[in-house]
């Protein structure tokens, strides 16, 4: 208030230098944090590679399975992809339908609550899904497996013999589908709700029914968002560990038979089951399979983000 006792010029100079020092420190700290994150991501790749080198260079006979790392990881990659694809095939249409229901069908007042309830599915830990899949879902699917073997046995997927415990690839895929449902529906919900109101109202004004409006104005607009969301879900399904480890009854080998008790394991589940009891070269081999999983999910996620981000640019131009 009394600026007389502190002349502005004198007060300004020291504060300006302090200011810029504080500014520089803070800017440096936050930039450093950003760079640290990139370093960690690079570090994940680097340390996985360095710890798995042993198994890649080791003679094939010493690696678990006795035929080298590549034939060890092969069936696991197949199992991982199979379970994730089942999950994706089931969850994508369901997730899109749920997103449509919440954005355009449910009464406005309850829509937000319903969205929150669906998001609750994402909050439940993976291990609890495993418990539920083992205790509730698997037994209730057993009659269906028996029916499928009798009536659909001509398809390779349902060749049987049907599992009596229900711990099959199909069960694991369904559990994964439920786990990725909230991801797909959340992203679809977001893009559907952003569909331009003018387009929607124009469609309705021309006499379109609600479904025709969605088909003409909402779905074309949200298509790439749905694709991106499905791929993010795929990434999550590929890496899910405990739910598969608990639910799936594993015996190795490659088979498209979805309802029998002998299934290929997935990379993540195999690591969870083997790692605690492994040592030496076996650990290195498991880390190598982890590296393969990391590369696959990284590729899927990067592609998904690319698709989603491209849509964001497009909608910004609108």
């Amino acid at each position: 208030m009394t600026s007389l006792d502190t002349p502005p010029r004198k007060a300004d100079k020291p504060t300006r230098t302090v200011r810029s020092a504080g500014d520089r420190t803070f800017a440096g700290l936050s930039t450093g944090a950003g760079i640290l994150i990139l370093v960690v991501l690079a570090g994940v790749a680097a340390f996985l590679i360095s710890e798995s080198l042993d198994s890649i260079t080791a003679p094939a006979a010493d690696v678990p399975g006795g035929e080298g790392v590549w034939s060890y990881v092969g069936p696991l990659v197949f199992g991982t992809l199979l379970a994730a694809v089942i999950a994706l095939v089931v969850a994508t249409p369901l997730g899109v339908a749920i997103a449509l229901f919440i954005t355009y069908y449910a009464p406005k007042r309850v829509a937000a609550t319903l969205g929150y309830v669906v998001d609750l599915l994402a909050a439940i830990p993976s291990v609890v899904y495993g418990f539920w899949g083992l205790a509730a879902l698997a037994p209730s699917l057993v009659p269906f497996f028996a029916w499928a073997e009798r009536n659909l046995g001509f398809l390779p997927f349902f060749a049987g013999p049907a599992s009596v415990t229900g711990r099959t690839m199909l069960t694991a895929g369904l559990v994964l589908a439920i786990m990725i449902l909230p991801i797909i529906s959340a992203i679809s919900r977001e893009v559907f709700s952003q569909a331009p109101a003018l387009h929607r109202e124009a469609a309705l004004a021309l006499g379109a029914t609600r479904w025709e409006m969605i088909k003409m104005a909402v779905l074309p607009y949200g298509k790439s968002g749905v694709i991106g969301g499905a791929m993010l879900g795929l990434g999550r399904a590929l890496g899910e560990t405990l739910a598969v480890a608990i639910v799936l009854s594993v015996s190795g080998g490659i088979t498209f038979n979805l309802i029998s008790s002998s299934n290929p394991s997935t990379i993540a589940a195999n690591i969870a089951l083997q790692f605690p009891e492994s040592s030496g070269l076996a650990v290195s081999t498991l880390i190598f399979t982890g590296l393969v999983l990391f590369v696959i999910t990284l590729a899927v996620n990067m592609l998904a983000r690319y698709v989603v981000n491209r849509r964001a640019d497009f909608s910004g131009a609108n």
Binding site: G22, S140, E212, G239
Partner: protein, 359 residues
């Protein structure tokens, strides 16, 4: 009808007869027809032996079919398709609720039995069969999650501040993209990373709590960055400009204006990030392991954590198995309660500490 405001004339009368000839189902007619389909489905299920799964399948198929046929006969093809899609979309939502309800019911009914004092006060030292608890696992989970939060929140917040306040050019683009990609890292890979990192320093077979905290941080940091970034973006630019106009430096503006304005959202995002990692099992299985005794020291030796404890009690319940399996379900129940509580706390934070700039 108020007399003070001039009311517009009602909808033009002459149109009414033109619309009048259109046939349609009455209000809630679609729901009633769908319900009729459900009744048919119930009868069909009864004919071939009752089961809820079969009823659900028949119900959705018959409900949709009856809706379509009736509507098609009364209202025509376009309306019928519309009603069919409405029925399908609503059924999809109902289907998604089935696992949620079933899961909560299964976990509660199986886990409620051992939800007693012993469970929260005893560890598993010397326990064979009956008794025993998860005191050591609960403490382990709290310690490791707290450590992970201590690592993740400063790094994540600073990175979010960088993205919103300082970042530009290639580094910002790269960081945004790779943080998004990092949210998709499988949790078990994060565990393997922590193992590979510490195995180099401490030799193979390393198991300790801090490693688990590092693994969880790899999963937690991108979540904190993403959600904090969204929250910081919501702070109106006018506030920053007002602060600059008063001669306040940038870093003080951030610390004294931007962060306090966004504090509720930041609290919510951190709480949700904690909820996201507290149930993680796979990385802790790899790098922390399991033990029967209570270990408060995250720098030395194996620790028990609640999810890993639940997993081992289920898969290696001991003899006789029912006690171990009972403890496993109770651990799962406690885990769900913790996660749900964190979600509720997150919502409460954003409700009660809402930004003061709201209009």
């Amino acid at each position: 009808m108020s007399t003070t405001t001039p009311t517009r004339p009602e909808a033009p009368e002459p149109l009414a007869p033109a619309v009048g000839h259109r046939r349609g189902l009455p209000r809630f007619g679609g729901t009633a027809v769908f319900a009729a389909g459900l009744v048919l489905a119930a009868l069909a299920t009864l004919a071939s032996g009752w089961s809820w799964g079969l009823f659900a399948v028949y119900g959705i198929v018959l409900g949709c079919l009856v809706t379509y046929v009736v509507s098609r006969a009364v209202e025509g093809r376009r309306k019928a398709t519309d009603r069919l899609v409405t029925a399908l979309v609503s059924s999809a939502f109902a289907i998604a609720m089935v696992p949620l309800v079933s899961l909560v019911y299964t976990v509660v009914s199986n886990g409620i039995g051992r939800l007693d004092g012993t469970f929260f006060s005893n560890s598993m030292v010397g326990v064979v069969g009956e008794g025993g608890g998860a005191y050591h696992a609960i403490m382990g989970t709290l310690i490791i999650t707290a450590l992970a939060t201590l690592i993740s929140v400063p790094v994540g917040l600073l990175a979010a501040i960088y993205l919103v306040e300082y970042g530009r050019g290639r580094l910002k683009k790269a960081l945004t993209f790779f943080v998004d990609v990092m949210t998709g890292i499988p949790s078990i890979v994060a565990g393997l990373f922590a193992y590979a990192l510490f195995a180099i320093f401490f030799g193979p077979g390393i198991r300790f709590g801090l490693g688990g905290a590092v693994a969880l941080s790899v999963l937690m940091i991108p979540v904190v960055v993403r959600s904090s970034e969204e929250v910081l973006k919501l702070v109106p630019n006018e506030l920053r400009e007002a602060s600059y106009a008063l001669g306040v430096s940038k870093w003080r503006t951030i610390l004294k204006v931007v962060v306090p304005t966004a504090i509720a959202g930041l609290g919510t995002s951190v709480t949700l990030a904690i909820a996201r990692v507290i149930g993680e099992t796979a990385p802790l299985l790899v790098i922390v392991g399991i033990t029967a005794a209570t270990n408060f020291d995250p720098f030395d030796g194996r620790m028990a954590t609640l999810p890993v404890y639940a997993y081992y009690q289920l898969t290696q319940p001991g003899v006789p198995p029912e006690f171990g399996i009972g403890r496993a379900w109770t651990a799962a129940l406690v885990l769900i309660i913790i996660v749900m509580a964190l979600n509720v706390v997150a919502r409460l934070i954003s409700r009660f500490f809402a930004p003061k700039t709201g209009r």
